[in-house]
Amino acid sequence: MRESRVKARVTLCKGFDGEEALHNTDYKNMPQALKIQNLRKQYDNGFQALKGIDLSVEEGDFYALLGPNGAGKSTSIGIISSLVRKTSGKVSIFGHDIDTDLVRAKRMLGVVPQEFNFNQFEKVEDIIVTQAGYYGIPAKEARQRSEKYLKQLGLWDKRHNVSRMLSGGMKRRLMIVRALIHQPRLLILDEPTAGVDIELRRSLWDFLRDINGQGTTIILTTHYLEEAEQLCRNIGIIDSGKIVENTSTKALLGKLQQESFVLDLKKPIEYLPTFAGYTVKMLDNRSIEVEVGKHQGVNDLFRQLSECRIEVASMRNKSNRLEELFVNLTSDASATDASGADSSGQTKGSAAEKGEAHGE
């Protein structure tokens, strides 16, 4: 899988730049797409947005950076894209340090911010061609490139429209096209599907999977944990300016000890029987909630339901599996943060710091 991604990347690079030299590249020693070391940010008002985060994202990865509001996600993205000045620490993009080699680092990077940040009075095509020009791509070539992405994202018919006339979903897609026009190797999306309908969200997922399949490394932040679970191979969770978890999606979900399911019943029940080995509660006379342990399975539950002549019409997760973990992890970190803070405001050794070490 990984090898095929790297191969795809090479094909992509050859196609764009004709860099035959990439044929002989030692991929194992290639620099990481993103490497963050001990990154700290303290704003002028004294607020510490980042408290020394370490993070690395491999080339070709699809990585989710999750965290509650104010956790430090946007500050991290701001620093990577040079819109926010870091207090200390190191950031490099494909081996290009943003302190010493910022121009090359920027050429590797495409950013889709959370807020609309294009000129609302310009036409769609002009916005894209202008952005391409900032990366040294002449207008003619930019128009050719933009056609491909505009068609893929369903904006081709709107290319001559003034951008403020677009719907919210279209504006978000416009920002994705704009970020891709210089064909970056690392694409960072800050809440790319916020406020878009389900159908469009699914089509954006397909699009992102497609460009990731072609070799573009993707980092996204999202509030939709289902999105992270569906799309991303690796997940980092940031809370109160610290990385509290950084692992594969599979490993993270493996930490889930139990899941809650809601069972909708075909016929109403008068009372709730006892089920051996399961904690069950009645939500109403047509639905029950069951907690199922990690190694328990549901076969035995269904056998017992059958014995009680209770027929199940449908079954669903009570909440997103990742959501449960997320809430646990971030609430743990907050609690640790509060109890670990000494009088000088410094945090003591904590689970959160172990999480940072894990992240590195």
Partner: protein
């Protein structure tokens, strides 16, 4: 592609975007100065000017036309960059530039030249309108062009710095209202400093706009107003170097742009 080619494309992109902007909104950018200057020509030239008599060796209308052209160039080159860059800041579209690999000097050059072209555009427009009222003959074409180009560059840089510091739309109007307008009105647009008594004449010599207006007037009318044209160019070049250095410093530290 070499670095300078990247930069050339980036410069052209910013520059043409700026031209496109002021051409798109011509009723806000080109029409008002044309109307205002036409009124100046009618009031100061035809109505009041006929009672003033001669000024600096010319009839008042002939004297005032170069001054009004420069006034239009100064205000338009300044306001073009100030409003465009601030508008990009306000809409956050400036972030498109800040995340890109465009060097700061290219950003500054692109916006400044956009302002210069707007200033020159309006300058030519006012000059053509002036031709309806007086017969103008350019005596020193090189001095005229150099004076108007350096002036437009200087004030476009000023507009950029104003936009960097501005936090709200009102801030964009502060410098034009409280600094530019008084300096322009007292900078020899409507009168020759020779008619001023001391100490006002000496105080006027501290006004940099006086040198620009007089250098331009000398280029058009060909008569020395007592202010050295060479000295005027030295003042302009020095001022441009200082303003450009300041603007680049502000971009480097990210004043009002980076958090």
């Amino acid at each position: 592609m070499s670095e300078w080619k990247y930069n050339l494309v980036a410069f052209n992109t910013i520059f043409s975007k700026e031209i496109r902007r002021f051409m798109r909104i011509w009723p806000q950018t080109l029409l008002p100065p044309a109307i205002t200057m036409s009124l100046y020509f009618v009031i100061f030239g035809a109505v009041i000017g006929s009672r003033v008599g001669e000024m600096g060796g010319f009839d008042y209308m002939t004297f005032v036309v170069p001054g009004l052209v420069m006034m239009a160039v100064i205000t338009n080159s300044f306001s073009n960059v100030a409003s465009s860059f601030f508008s990009n800041k306000f809409q956050k579209s400036v972030e498109e530039l800040l995340v890109s690999p465009v060097p700061n000097w290219v950003i500054l050059a692109g916006y400044t030249m956009g302002g210069v072209v707007r200033g020159l555009y309006v300058g030519v427009l006012v000059m053509l309108l002036g031709a309806f009222f007086v017969e103008l003959q350019v005596h020193h074409i090189l001095i005229t062009l150099l004076a108007v180009f350096l002036t437009a560059t200087l004030f476009a840089l000023g507009g950029f710095i104003n936009a960097v510091f501005a936090r709200k739309f009102d801030d964009v109007a502060i410098i034009p209202t409280f600094v530019l307008t008084p300096l322009t009105y007292l900078g020899g647009v409507f009168y020759s400093v020779d008619v001023l008594p001391e100490p006002f004449r000496s105080i006027s010599l501290l006004n940099p706009i006086l040198y620009q207006v007089n250098a331009f007037r000398y280029g058009i009318l060909g008569q020395d107003s007592g202010i050295s044209t060479g000295w005027a160019f030295v003042v302009m070049v020095l001022a441009i170097v200082i303003m450009a250095t300041w603007a680049l410093h502000l971009l480097r530290v990210g004043k009002g742009l980076r958090n």
